[in-house]
Structures are given as C-alpha cells and as structure tokens.
Amino acid sequence: MRTSRREISAVERFNRISVPTNIIFTTLFIVLALLCVIPVVFVAIISLSSNDSIEKIGYSFMPLEWSLDAYAYLWRERVSIGRATFVSVFITVVGTILGLYLNATMGYVLSRPTFRLKKFLTYFIFIPMLFSGGLVSSYLVNTQMLRIQNSYWALILPIAVSSFYVIIIRTFFQTTVPDSLIESAKIDGASQMRIFFSIVLPISLPVMATIGLFLSFGYWNDWFSAMLYIQSSHQELYPLQYVLISIERNMEFLSRSSEFMGPDSSIGKLPAESTRMAIVMIVVIPIALSYPFFQKYFITGLTIGAVKG
C-alpha cells in the first residue's frame, strides 16, 4: 500500500537545511505566526472581559472576571446591530454578483482574438490603472452627477470593477478556454451572450471563485465608501465596518433604541469597551474562519495576476 505521505527524493533529503538552522527558522516562524494571530485572540478576550476587570487592570490576556455582558448588550441592541450586519451581508452578496458580471463580461470580450474593438478596450481599461481623477472629482461626480450618496449604490458601485480583476479573468480565458470551442458554438448559431453564459462560465469556475472571493472580502471590509457617501442622517445604511468607526468616540449608534428609557433608568453601566471589541469580533470571525479554506484561490489569483498584461 502506498502511504499518503509524500515521499521526498534523495536529493531533497540531502539538500535540507541543517537541524540547528531548522530549529532557528522554525522558532522564528512560530513567533511571527503568533504575532499575526495574537491581536485577534486579544480582542476576543477583551470582548469577554467584564467592565470591572477592564476598569481595574485594563485590557489583559487574563481578565479578573469573564463576562458575556458585551454580547448580551449587542443582543439587546439587535435591531441596530442586526441592521448593520444585514447591510454588510447585502452589499457583499449583491456587490460580488454584480462585480463578477461586470468584470467577467469585460474579461471575456477582451479575450476574443477577432474582436474589432479589442485593442481599443484594452487601452480603455488599462489607462485607469495609470491615471485617476483622484478623490475630489470622484466624490463630486458620485454625489453631484450620479447622485448615489445615501443609497446602497454608493456602497456597491464604486468598487465593483477593477482593471486588475478584468486582466486576471482575460488571461484565464485566453489560456484555458479553447478558441475552437467558441468557434464551433458560433457555427451552431449561438450568440455571444449565450456562449458566455452557457459555455464559458461553467468551465471558468476557478477564476470566478478567485475573483468572487477578492470582491466579497473587499465589500465585507469596505468602510471608505460609507465614510464618504453615507451621512449620519442615514444610519440605517451603515455597514458593520462603518459602525466600528462611528462608535469609536460615542456609543450613540447602538443605544438609539434605548433612548426612551431616559438617562437615569439605565441599569448599570453600558459595557462600552468590551462591546466595541465584540463588534470587531463580529466583523473578524467570518473572515478568520473562512480564509484558510479559500486561500488557495487567492494564491491562484495572485499568480495569474503576476503574468504581465
């Protein structure tokens, strides 16, 4: 029976680094790996620390007292925090689907060798990689011409397309979708629209997964669009990331629903510090749990992307 463990060749075995070097390197990487993960653990611990503990000994890896107050508080304020979670999920889902459509159609069109406008459109998507109008004119165009401020569009559209993604998809189509397949479909009378949806897309799942992940992490992590385009009069459109920014100074966003209670009817102090960290956890946990499974797609994307345009 073959063992599942990969046999390493004699050369490889001979060429390994010495044991002491290996120990030094291994230690170094253990330290670096911990350095990258520990802040997440630390914030998780803070979110589970009691208010008293934080007041007495500050943020600590070993709080005097553990407590679920922060999460209980978030649960009581589930209307506002649930709303923000919905906004985050909504823009992530809709943005990813829309973004995939826009990037993939352009990538496909640019991968067709006989297309008359191929050269023109290649320049068309390449120029914005070199030169941009900058924040001021983008902001003014979006708010005074397109008028998308204070709407979901403002959170979705500005980051839906990236020339980098289009080029990755184009390169993938060029190298893996055989021309003959498309030519024969054309002879059978299929339109380009149909070829794209029923032939090209089904065999392009790896690159779609890659770009889909780039897009969805991008949307989930986006706070800049909300900061620019969502005013405080439209708090129902705040995604989680922007809630984190707006509660940095005051917790007002969360406690809106308890306004009617009046100032002196509140029981005990609001666990402000641990609650902030608990919201950080709501944002981080989906990412931390999912990215290890997805990272191979990211790596594929980065490797295709490194091919020169």
Partner: protein
Amino acid sequence: MRSKKRFSKDDFELTMLAMPTVLWYLAFCYVPMFGIIIAFKQYRPIPGAGFIVSLIKSKFVGITNFKFLFATPDAWIMFRNTILYNLVFIVLGTVITVALAVMISQLRSKKMQKVSQTAMFLPHFLSWVVVSYFVFAFLSTESGLLSKLLEMWGMDPVIWYMTPEYWPYILVFVYLWKSIGYGMVVYLAGIAGIDESLYEAAIMDGATKWQQVKYITLPMLQPIIIILFILAVGRIFSSDFGLFYQVPRNSGPLVDVTQTIDVYVYKALMGLNNIGFAAAAGLLQSVLGLIMILAANWVVKKINEENSLF
C-alpha cells in the same frame, strides 16, 4: 482610401456584452479624469445644475490653488511623509518579505510551512478599521496592554496617541505586519515555480545552501521583484488612507508624522471645505504617480526588456 472591415454581428454582440462595464468605466473613471480640471477652478456647485455644468461655469483661476497650497506648511509635510514612508515600505517590505519567503520555503516540516504561512496571511484579510482597534488594544492610554505593562514596570506612562515620535515606527511596524504575509505568498509562488533541476545541478557542483539561494533562487525571483518594484514606485505618491487616518485615530498632535497626501485630500474635502486645495493636491498626486510609473518602467526596460511591465 482604405476600406474598413465591416463591424460584424459578432463584434456587435461582444460590444453589447461589454457595454455595462464600459459605462461603469465612463462614470467612475473617465468622467472623474475630466474632472481634474477642478484644480484650476474655483469650484462652486450651482444649485439645480449638475456637476459638469457647475464645473464648466466655475471661475477659472489658473494655478492659484497650487500657489496657496504650497504657501501652507501642510504641502511640504504631506509630500515628505508620503514619499519617506513609501521608500521605507518599499525597501524594508521587499527585503524582509523575500528573506522570509526564502526561509519559509526551507523549513523541513511542510506542515509548519503551511500553518505559519496561513497565520501570517490573516492580517491581509482584515480592514484598517479592525487593525486600528487591534493597535488601540495595545496603545490605549487608559487600558492598553503596553501602557499597563509600562506602568507595571514602573516606567513613565506614554500617551501614545499624543506622542508623534513613536508613530513612524508604529506605522512602519503595522504596515509590515499587515502586508508581509501577502508578499510572502507571491514570492513563494515564484519559488515554487523554479525548476528543480537547477538546484540538482548546483548540488552536483557542490553548491552550499547559501550559494543556491544567491545564484538560483534570488535571480529567478528577480522578474517578480522588479514588477512589484515598478508598481510600488508608481504608487510612491499614494498612501493607504486607512493606515494613516484610522490607525492613528486621526489624532491631532500626530499630524506631522501621519499626514500623507491622501489624508490631507480627504480632510480638505470633508472638513475644511477647501475643495480647491484638495483638488490641487490630488492632481499633483495623480500626475506625479503617472510620471513615476512610466519612468520606472522605462528604466527597467532600458536595463532588461523582459522585466518591464508594459
């Protein structure tokens, strides 16, 4: 006269397929590009009229915005900060990332390689807002871990968010912390692509591990290093807004060491109500960025045609 080939049905269908994306580019890239002339105008939105009408009708003021911008100390500070931070990021980032990628590829345990690479990739997936909370957990004056440790060791307390001296180091550290894992993945993919037989031949000739790295691994990684270098030089006038605005929590006393062009443009646009200055700084950033990337690419092309980006 040269007769042009007709636009076939196929071309038409492909154009239609690309149309939504073309419109996106027009709205979100090309109209703003046209909008850069705002830097030469005294822009006033005209009630009821759109952006373009307001822009055209606004008073043309030539280079007044630039003159006034450079009369303020802000201009010098933000250009200095942006360029110096980027230079440090490029040099330290490249050296450390390449070194770590080579080292991790040498680890004897493949499992250890995989686990530490995955762990170090995590910061790349977190937003700057989240990172700013991580930093706050350590640096907060009342409760931060570092502040508490200083207190425990009987040292003078440091009000981190008010003490500019430390921030260049903190920002460089946070930048490296967030970006090294990503860079390592890129270089590791490059290392994995190197032909094994090169190493085998080197071993036959009795090359040491160090010689293999110096004469095979590094030269084979050179094209990737150069491409990433060109891209980084092209962005030398841009900065990560989140790193310089969110991580220091937009703290006033830190402005001298945290104000980059992007931070200034944002603040001028949102707070100071000075669109002209913001637009002037933004235009300089875009134009200088374009010049830098073309220049870097040109230089690389002169040295080695194959390594250029375009």
